[in-house]
Amino acid sequence: MILRLTQQNHSIDVELISSSPFIIKIKEKEYQLDIIKISDNLYSLILNNQSWFLSYNEKDNKRFISDSKYESIIHIQNELEIVLSKFGFASTEDDKIGEIHASIPGLITKLFVKAGDKITKGHPLCILEAMKMENEINAPMDGVIKLIHVIEGNSVEKGNIIMEIE
């Protein structure tokens, strides 16, 4: 089993050599780790007598792992995806360019654009109100508003598509 782990612009490939004892390989180097689950999402790892107390969380298709120094936010590609990316195919998990999604459940309190409007990057599109704050959503790109999926007063779930730009 091989996975490609990406954090910001940094990627590594990691291979499972053995599951018991737990041995992995990164950049031709093997590591044997002692991994113990403590409770629901807390883990203790010991690697060459270095102790790591980690919390693990999966959220929005990312893995959040905290140790005492860093917070790592990791995106995973499996073997198939690694092969596909070699041939220039993008990961299927990425959002389609031009789709504006709700980043948090909330209420659309204001729309600044209508279908057909020509906009430039940074142009305000709508107000998404959540946790008592008015969040202005701005255009991520230049383009034309293709379709608006909501009207003012609609509530949206996280991830719902609000509008499309092309």
Binding site: V14, S20, I26, I36, L45, W52, E129
Partner: protein
């Protein structure tokens, strides 16, 4: 004598008030919305009453429901905490008419100081310096173009009834003025039921410094020193400390004296906070007065060894403050980090979800004021603050090291929290040197985000690999085997 207090609030501040009540032998009544059935304030109170649906205007802001719980529960006093009804004059008047004690500021003081325009008038009358700007709310956005021009851009648009960054906008040029006023006005209307806004000068490298005061019915007005609150994102405080590394004894004295002058001028009672902006030249201006308990009050409590909620309750009960101005000799250094359910790497976007695991901070010099419990769902209905983490140490350097230690130990799994970004701020040279202002966080944020995740360590990689392997149905025993049982039996227990 107050015997039973209804806490008209939720989250960490409701818990914090309940705790002092318990220590004073006072019964507590919690109110809760649909979303808050297992919030700690419900668990820890003696009584708990459901008051409606999750949106706060259908529960925590619903005056009639809270009035009926006061009646049913037989509470003889109400503590409003901060936010929600804490500065609602009508509510305060209504309960007091019914003979219920209001553990808050006098309604006249809330009226005068809660409204920024009249507050500025009081400051002016008492020769407390003010930031240049409109003292009256804006009637017509067109009228302000000339004033804005005379003050000079950038200017700030601020809500008359506001606080906490809501209804506030910076305007960098004339072309944005109209739209910013409209936006701020609309936000203010929703947040404070008062859509009026005004404008003022935006200062150079300003520090947000506030003075905690206490006033009682025996004519005592005491200053408990300052809090440095300049680490802010989106006009909301994230880290506070006392003493401020920026101000000196002279300035401290001036601010304290001004704060007490204002408290006297408005016949203040209870706990209040006078906020100032101090520019890089140590020129200072009155900003506003918060006529209630403040989020960041614990750092003042710790350095002074007092309990502000206890003082509030005693003052409301007609007792004098339990100490004098001469007793106020702050000791050591305290820092507070607000633990928000927010993604500091992603422009502080709120994050929701269940608290699935929690390793609490503890040890010497640590105070945690939590508003959540493991198993609880964090919802989008309320303020995203989960907890306040406060440390105390003998001096600033040690306090920073301690905060760093505690942030690195504690874990909250579920919503994304501000723990990592707090850790980065605490370790950044601006914070370490003590040279920062209200613009600092915004300026260093890209650097902090960059610092947060630099490498993928073998430990992180292996944990992900293991979890993925298991997700494919390949089970590896994760639990600790009870080796001690076998080895123990083998070797005897000696």
């Amino acid at each position: 004598m107050i015997k039973k207090i209804l806490i008209a609030n939720r989250g960490e501040i409701a818990v914090r008030i309940i705790r002092t009540c318990k220590e004073m032998g006072i019964k507590t009544v919690a109110v809760y919305s649909d979303a808050d059935r297992i919030s700690p304030h419900v668990l820890l109170a003696d009584e708990a009453y459901h008051i409606g649906k999750s949106p706060s205007n259908k529960s925590y802001l619903d005056v009639n429901k809270i009035l009926s719980v006061i009646k049913i529960s037989g509470a003889d006093a109400v503590h409003p905490g901060y936010g929600f009804l804490s500065e609602n004059v009508e509510f305060a008047k209504t309960i007091q008419k019914r003979g219920i004690i209001w553990i808050g500021a006098p309604t006249e003081a809330i009226n005068t100081m809660g409204n920024k325009v009249s507050a500025r008038q009081v400051a002016k009358n008492n020769s407390v310096s003010l930031i240049p700007g409109t003292i009256e709310p804006i009637q017509n956005p067109k009228d302000v173009f000339q004033i804005a021009e005379s003050i000079g851009y950038p200017i700030l648009v601020k809500a008359v009834g506001g606080g906490g960054g809501k209804g506030m906008r910076i305007v960098y040029s004339e072309s944005d003025l109209t739209q910013s006023i409209e936006r701020a006005s609309s936000e203010a209307g929703k947040a404070f039921s008062d859509s009026r806004v005004y404008i003022e000068k935006y200062l150079e490298d300003p520090h947000h410094i506030e003075i905690q005061i206490l006033s009682d019915t025996h004519g005592n007005h005491i200053s408990l020193g300052e809090r440095e609150c300049s680490i802010q994102r989106r006009f909301q405080k994230i880290i506070e400390e006392t003493p401020s590394p920026f101000i000196d004894d002279l300035l401290r004295k001036e601010l304290s004296e001004s704060a007490i002058k204002l408290a006297k001028a408005c016949n203040y009672l209870g706990a209040g906070t006078v906020e100032f902006l101090v520019d890089k030249y140590k020129k200072w201006y009155f900003l506003e007065m918060n006529t209630r308990l403040q989020v960041e009050h614990p750092i003042t409590e710790i350095v002074n060894g007092i309990d502000l909620v206890r003082e509030q309750i005693n003052i409301a009960d007609g007792k004098p403050i339990s100490f004098t101005q001469n007793d106020v000799i702050p000791q050591g250094h305290a820092i507070e980090c607000r633990i928000y359910a927010e993604d500091g790497l992603n422009n502080f976007q709120p994050s929701i979800g269940k608290i699935v695991d929690y390793y609490p901070p503890s040890g010497p010099g640590v105070r945690m004021d939590e508003g959540f419990i493991k198993g609880q769902e964090i919802t989008p209905f309320y303020d995203p603050m989960l907890a306040k983490l406060v440390v105390w140490s003998n001096n600033r350097k040690e306090a920073i090291s301690k905060m760093n230690r505690v942030l690195s130990e504690m874990k909250i799994v579920g919503p994304i929290t501000s723990i990592p970004i707090c850790r980065e701020i605490i370790n950044h040279s601006s914070f370490n040197s003590g040279i920062y202002c209200t613009h600092t966080l915004e300026a260093i944020l890209p650097e902090l985000v960059e610092n947060i995740s630099k490498e993928i360590t073998p430990s992180v990689a292996s944990l992900i690999l293991k979890k993925q392997y298991q997700n494919q149905g390949k089970i590896i025993s994760e639990e600790l085997s009870s080796t001690w049982l076998t080895s123990g039996r083998k070797d005897g227990l000696e």
